[in-house]
Point group: D2
């Protein structure tokens, strides 16, 4: 058997751990050949691949990024893309193609599968917004990095009697802001799931500063003002509709300082959230996903993706996640906001 | 309302985060009084408690250990213990008692509940062996510490062509050894769930050393030899039946060195696995458990414990966990061993 | 004896460790009273102080920030400031005043000393630009945080074929950028000590990208273009002449992207560089400085500051540092740039 | 020119950073050839070497261990060893040999140099006991790891009212125990430089436990009882005179528990102290040493070693360090013990 492997979309910690698991398990346990495609779907379209051995993946368990490279290319959005993928699958004699990616990569994976190339997905995204799995590769590490930053901001906020605003990733769903905000003890957490009213924030900060002299505000980049709220930020999205780093954070920072009179400072974590050594939890998840994916490939169980459900890793059909976004639950939002 | 709170059994990272959540949510959201008992069940027996305010728990989110102290005392094993607990509950006018603890503490909690004092449990144990919840407070941090140690051993093992044995906690269940072993890329993982044969280990190491010059062996302190295996360690338990730190690791280390001729060295992580700053994941879990427990207490939902199930925290009856041990699943053991 | 103690200027990791050392050594070894002033010089002017005991400093060794608070207030720049300090010193019966601070705080300390209040300085600054000491409190931690960020940017830069620009603190001297840049393996390091020419940077990046597909650029916030260079950034300073966070970084990022055509992204570390748990090296330095300062105070050796020189902590007269800035040496700059 | 390079003795974090600096600076700046010998002096004796390019050292800056391997082999203790080294130097046409190592490796380096092969030394040792340099590669990382362990032990010691003994490396000199003990806030620090009396320790712990309920004791493996002290440990050295891991710690633990009646527990850090990712401080030091060494080699300045003196890296003659051990100064010991 010959199994293809790619990583697509934005990189994140744990991709290499998943690659390693697929290759080690595939070659040692199942005796199959693994072809690694470079730069995500682009490599499949171009037929740019390398055979992968145990030696190739030696030592990459702890490495951030992806040894295969990645790109934000989707075959169904490229003229003749799907056809090129089919052609490569045939010329490379692939029995299945394992795609490690987020939202966009897995949507492409589903379309490619429907076009006749057997595909298996492994969800990765620091945003944790893939439906059907408790967690995706990269999320735990991103939360860990964001929480460490909030920990550090605490001491300087307190020493200088400041409001500290920290802008975190999370365009559609506020998982990082909520998880890191709770873990780091942020006083206010703004997630896209709960549109905010700046007046409430100001009131809460003023109230808090009667007995404490500082506050921490964790803001997801996708945070939006509530309908009818008095204050609205000016444009925070770029031409493609993506959040511009630092935009929403900067405007909220200014609004808080003006309304409260408290010195308010902004920190934008940016790309440090998606790089570097994965946490043990992400390495374990990535390894389990990689093992489950190659096992499924060998069994011919395709059109599915690896999903963590409780303590189990299960294979679930693509349609479970199709076109949906996993939002932070009301319960967890209440926990985050009620503390 | 008045709610009691205690931490029992061995300490672990995240206890203070749970205490903080109970106190903050209880006082601010529900307006109840929280009485914190010192040194676990001992404090309840002695009536040794303090009222707890938001100020008391300020800044403890990241602190290891427990601000309430803890002890390995079980009221049902102490003459008149249960009666003393009932008396304290009455004299303190407690509507419920929230017990943060492992196996032993929660077994006591169940007995106290059956004796008429309404109790709610919050599971904590670095061993992760409490049945009915995906995870317990302290486990993620212990895995994180153990993995970091394995990461460090890798480089010195490789530079010196050595076999490195690391003994980890886990008396009945091998969760830390399996999770940290997989996350750290250990070559051999020994858990109580899979009795080992030293001959297999030696064979695997010899085979591996044909192309790599080092190996990492992760050993749970409760690892046991398979029935009928040629080699058995001499006594590794103390008079109370608890593993003596370093015993099983030392004997396996010696056996490997003698059989393979490769220089083999032992590291015993010991108490560093249960102390210090909790991971963000543990802080989040502890906070969610604390919030769920105080909410249940206020609703009068007692005789239950907080359980993580997938993405949800649920309240489950004590009988779910009663007298059982959560073992590592065959699936996960296969993943661990097959890589 | 009664000794005053204050922390002034921006906070940084290690201040609490120094406070703890002064208090523990002062009370236990020397039997003197320590008065801690709140919010830097402001507290001395206002006579706002607390007596400090061993219990007060228990557990603060690892805490970021400063338990005494701090402020950017200089008595010689305040109407009647010096007089108020003298008055407080008399009314509080101070035999000496220990001032933990950077550039500005220690300049004030020198002036206060000359006005008749015996003063001892302890240098702290993440910028490491105090003359006369090998290192100042906070620098090692700032380098550690900045290096970890660069480590993380490496993997995402490589996976996405990007140029990553990271803006670090360092207004007059480039110590953080140079130390973290070398430690993190940055390809280009821009420090105020070596004015840059954007054309050289572009050329170096283009050259590098013939065989590697990514680059890391570490920029001190005080980096300046060389005289006569073709490209100059627009204004990067605020009305007070302080660098505006993100300004120089953003403009360099844009200039590189436009000139090279390579996707170029900016990260601004900001306040996370000055908060949180100090490194062991900073805790040790702060403790040694605190011990040396209180010992000097008891001996009546004032008008001096603690200085690390090689392996020794020495007391040096204020005039050694007066009005000067410690720049990165040519040697170290050559090491940084030549790799 | 052709320059040889080896790493000898025990491995430690930062060796790869030094290797990388020698190779990058040597090839790019000076255009010389670098030959890397495998497994320390053994590789020179055997003529086992590889040419090293920039590509070979790409990505190793953060890697623990040594890519060249190492061994505890000293040519002057091997029959015909020096002669074999001379022969290899001639057959490989070496203009100089850069030796990265501790005490033993550098003593050999000096002897080889005197025998006619031009040698340059780079000191590395987690023990920090090389004379003539403020610090050696690996020390800062070892202190960092040891301090983190002490931080973790604090919380569990406090929660359980325990005495925690931690045994750290340091056979002749107590640098790690003193630096990590001070940085971690250990209550008692035992270094070889200050022979201990168990009665004093017991007294100090008893005194402390009147107001605090726990203590941390940091013990260097080379700690020795004072002459005439009532209690002496039984043999703690192996046949070669090296400390047996855990021996001195275990005996002190038992003695404290018996004399005080307080529950006392031992942690032995062992090999984790010498592995893994180097701290930024060690990476910077290693890089500066590597650059200075290759620059000296190219200039023909041999028979010297790289030394950190204050903020400068200087080249010093081998005789400065010959046959001596750098002990912790009285000043620093007083700081450690007086807090």
């Amino acid at each position: 058997m010959r199994i293809g492997l790619l990583t697509g979309g934005g990189d994140c910690p744990g991709l290499n751990a998943a690659i390693r698991a697929v290759v080690k398990r595939g070659t040692a346990e199942h005796g199959v050949s693994i072809m690694g495609f470079h730069n995500g779907w682009q490599g499949v379209i171009d037929g740019d691949a390398q055979p992968m051995s145990r030696e190739d993946v030696s030592g990459i368990l702890v490495a951030g990024g992806t040894m295969l490279g990645t790109a934000r290319c989707h075959p169904h959005k490229v003229e003749g893309g799907i056809e090129a993928v089919i052609e490569t699958a045939q010329s490379e004699n692939l029995d299945a193609l394992i795609c490690i990616g987020g939202d966009g990569t897995l949507r492409a994976a589903s379309k490619v599968h429907n076009a006749g190339v057997p595909v298996i997905g492994i969800p990765k995204t620091i945003d944790n917004d893939v439906v059907g799995t408790d967690s995706s590769i990269g999320f735990d590490t991103a939360v860990s990095i964001a929480t460490e930053a909030i920990d550090r901001l605490h001491s300087t906020a307190e020493s200088h009697n400041r409001v500290m605003v920290v802008e975190l990733m999370g365009r559609h769903a506020g998982w990082i802001a909520v998880a890191a905000g709770v873990a780091g003890g942020a006083d206010i957490i703004l997630a896209p799931e709960r549109p905010f009213d700046i007046d409430d924030i100001v009131k809460k900060i003023r109230h808090r500063h009667r007995h404490r002299n500082f506050s921490i505000v964790a803001v997801a980049e996708g945070a939006v003002p509530a309908e009818g709220s008095s204050w609205k930020p000016s444009e925070t999205l770029d031409a493609k509709g993506n959040p511009i780093a630092g935009q929403i954070g900067a405007q909220i920072t200014q609004a808080i300082e003006e309304a409260t009179g408290f010195a308010t400072r902004l920190t934008v974590l940016g790309y440090t959230q998606r790089g570097g050594v994965p946490t043990p939890t992400d390495r374990l998840l990535a390894t389990r996903f990689g093992v489950a994916a190659i096992d499924a490939a060998v069994e011919g169980n395709t059109g599915v993706f690896t999903a963590l459900r409780g303590e189990q890793v299960q294979m679930r059909p693509f349609k479970v996640m199709a076109g949906k976004t996993k939002f932070v639950s009301d319960d967890l939002l209440d926990t985050a906001i009620g503390l």
